[in-house]
């Protein structure tokens, strides 16, 4: 089964990214194909990596490790660049470090893209699932 995933929720105020991440891992374990993970609306903030104290991480549900999914499964993680720019996040640039970010996702984890890629995946996939805010 070919899956296309859309993530709409802000990682700080919604569980959307966390749930989507667990769903994707389970789908891959069952040998389904995830042809696109598209970050839209406030989902584009998934690019920022929040700071957690150790106690918080232990108690809370573990945050998504997107970089691992990309390196291990070659997933295509696309952040809508128009949605990102409307929220003050620039298009992805090669430099990973930033004075405004506490920690940065490894370069190449996310790809800047647009709604064309989203529609294309919606047409090619067998199932389309939204993780709402």
């Amino acid at each position: 089964m070919k899956l296309a995933i859309q993530i709409n929720g802000h990682p700080a105020s919604s569980m959307a990214a966390t749930t989507a991440y667990q769903f994707i891992k389970a789908a891959l374990r069952k040998d389904h194909q995830v042809i696109l993970v598209f970050f839209y609306y406030d989902g584009v903030f998934s690019r920022l990596v929040p700071a957690h104290t150790e106690a918080e991480t232990a108690a809370a549900v573990a945050p998504p490790d997107w970089a691992a999914l990309v390196s291990e499964h070659g997933l295509d993680l696309v952040i809508c660049s128009a949605a990102a720019e409307r929220r003050g996040l620039a298009a992805l640039s090669p430099a990973a470090a930033s004075d405004l970010m506490r920690t940065a996702t490894p370069v190449g984890t996310f790809r800047a893209g647009g709604l064309g890629q989203w529609v294309d995946a919606c047409l090619r996939c067998d199932r389309f699932i939204v993780f709402a805010s």
């Binding site: 609306y41 128009a82 409307r86 047409l123």
Partner: protein
């Protein structure tokens, strides 16, 4: 329609001024239409506020997304529907709306879901 064509149903459920959200919803709808797909748009719950026409001293262009809403008539959108119950619960009628839209009953929402294969709540 080709084998890969899909029927998209957009369910607009949020009020207009919630940040960038509605603009981004319109972007999705117009992008799908540009790919020559079947597109139905259903306004329901607080989404019906998107369609309230300006009254009194205001003109249509004062409405935040008025010009874009009107463009939906010209795009290749299959149908624009409004949930009648959502309007009634908000003291609105069809004559309050800025664009022509067919009213549907709640039972019809059920039918609509089964007739589309890409369901997007906005």
């Amino acid at each position: 329609m080709s084998a890969s064509s899909r029927r998209f149903l957009f369910l607009v459920r949020h009020s207009p001024l919630a940040g960038a959200r509605f603009r981004e919803t319109l972007d999705m709808i117009f992008t799908v239409a540009a790919f020559d797909q079947w597109v139905t748009v259903l306004f329901l719950d607080d989404g019906v506020f998107q369609l309230v026409a300006p009254l009194g001293e205001h003109s249509a262009s004062d409405l935040l997304w008025g010009p874009m809403l009107k463009a939906m008539d010209f795009y290749d959108i299959h149908e624009i529907l409004v949930d009648e119950q959502s309007l009634r619960l908000r003291g609105l009628t069809a004559s309050d709306l800025v664009i022509g839209a067919a009213l549907v009953a709640p039972e019809h929402v059920r039918t609509l879901l089964g007739q589309h294969d890409r369901l997007v709540v906005c």
